[in-house]
Amino acid sequence: MFELLGIPPQVLFGQLLLGLINGSFYAVLSLGLAVIFGLLNIINFTHGAQYMLGAFGAWMLLNYLGVGYWWAVFIVPPIVGVTGIVLERLLIRRLYHLDHLYGLLLTFGMALIIVGFFRQFFGVSGLPYPPPPLLTGGHNLGFMYLPNSRAWVIFASLIVCLATWFIIEKTRLGAYLRAATENPTMVGAFGINVPLLVTLTYGFGVALAGFAGVLAAPIYAVNPNMGSDLIIVVFAVVVIGGMGSILGSILTGFGLGLIEGLTRVFYPEGSAVVIFVIMALVLLVKPAGLFGRSA
């Protein structure tokens, strides 16, 4: 077996795989943020809490109703999306005429409330979610061992990301959405129900967060705080990528996950901050973000 800079390949590929998993979550979450930001012009601070809701949704289905993981993958994201739609209709809608910073403050408050309730009723120690039989075990690829659960997360995130890209860039609904992002008044004049489009977009973005949460349930413990720190890293990912392009968000998410994994191999102490350091460098060199249009 070859060695790279004294690091055995199992360790290297193992960490790269972990990085790719983190990257999957960054990609799906930053994609949701970008979709929401494109139309609503708010940064959805509740995104981390909604990711947590997805994981808890899967846990509750299993423990209260005995509904397994594969059903949860399809049932939970729409449910989380509907909770988002309710929040949009009741609260967020009232702020569109104000400065976008108020949207940030409102969604931050909503995140505190949601996370607070779950901490109060479920504690912070974390609840186990047993992976379904199909996801236990794994394959030996020769140079590394690939657990099924990890392979599934990467595969599922890629599919969802590409499907989102397809819907937005290639379908009629996506064309309306892109048009409404550019000029909502004009699109409304053509007879398209823009407020409905806005609501559905928020619901869709939130459902993406919920989907990421379901994926996270079997690999990380289900914990009320699981989204709080993650969302801040995702913010940095969004700043690095810029929110102008869907494919850009996906690439940035996976890429930064890989870089984080590499850092964990070669300089473990820096792995927690490497994304923030990259953000600082990007701000110096290309302030609008790698794929961003200058604001």
Partner: protein, 327 residues
Amino acid sequence: MAIDTNPIAMAAITSVGTAGMPRHHLAIFAALLVFLIAAPFLLYPVFVMKVLCFALFACAFNLLLGFGGLLSFGHAAYFGMASYVSAHAAKVWGLTPELAIVAGTLVAAVLGLAIGSLAIRRHGIYFAMVTLAFAQMVYFFSLQAAFTGGEDGIQAVPRGYLFGLIDLRSSEVLYFFVLAIFFAGILLIYRIIHSPFGQVLKAIRENEPRAISLGYRVNRYKLALFVLSATLAGVAGATKAIVFQLASLTDVYWTMSGEVVLMTLLGGMGTVFGPIVGAAVIVTMQNYLATFGDWVTIGQGLIFVVAVLLFREGIVGVLAKWIRKPL
């Protein structure tokens, strides 16, 4: 892009100019001073000192948000890092409390310069995200660095002897030291707001392209304001470390950044006295609800939602509307 601050409070800046304080501001400052001198005899001094530290923190934050229109979501970084440095200086280096606070403040200023010079490259929502991300980086640094004591923090920080002479172990004596720092801090902020520098900031906040076309180097003004705000937040954090004899991860975590936003929002963004009221309300709430665990977080979230939806002027902003005078 400016966040809409109370129009009456804004009018104040134009009507006062740089000459002096309007009479009702003078009266409020005097009443505040009298109340705060009497406070340790009426209330628990450590509690009042806590309010004073957070009030100064919120006023420093409001300087940036209310008067510069810049929403930083990472002010815990300066507050917390200053608190660590001041605690370390007092405990390990054996500096006197005032020098420890100066050390913490200087570090906060340098940190503010470093983060601010990067963050002002983006506007609005991105600015908030960038400051939040950098603050999280400072948090991870504090978690791993040796001198911060990781999860334990720096405990049993000596209060020491002020100027090497006055024993601060008694909370009553320490209180007047903290009061002096607080009052100097808010008077300085008041002076900054009403200076020609403050006028330029107002112009930038209201119409940045126009300020640029008039020849102002907008980014320098923004950076200067950012550093001032970070420095004053540092004063508050450094003082808090001496008062509570503790510097911990709580002070650098993002929840702290959220709390200072909440205090300012609740009290009244862009008002002189609002953040003080907001800090008093939030700290009192935390004190009385401390035994209810996570209900404090839920309560804070509710206040956020209600304040943003129904109450954007804040407590002092509403009062200012009633008496038709800027506060």
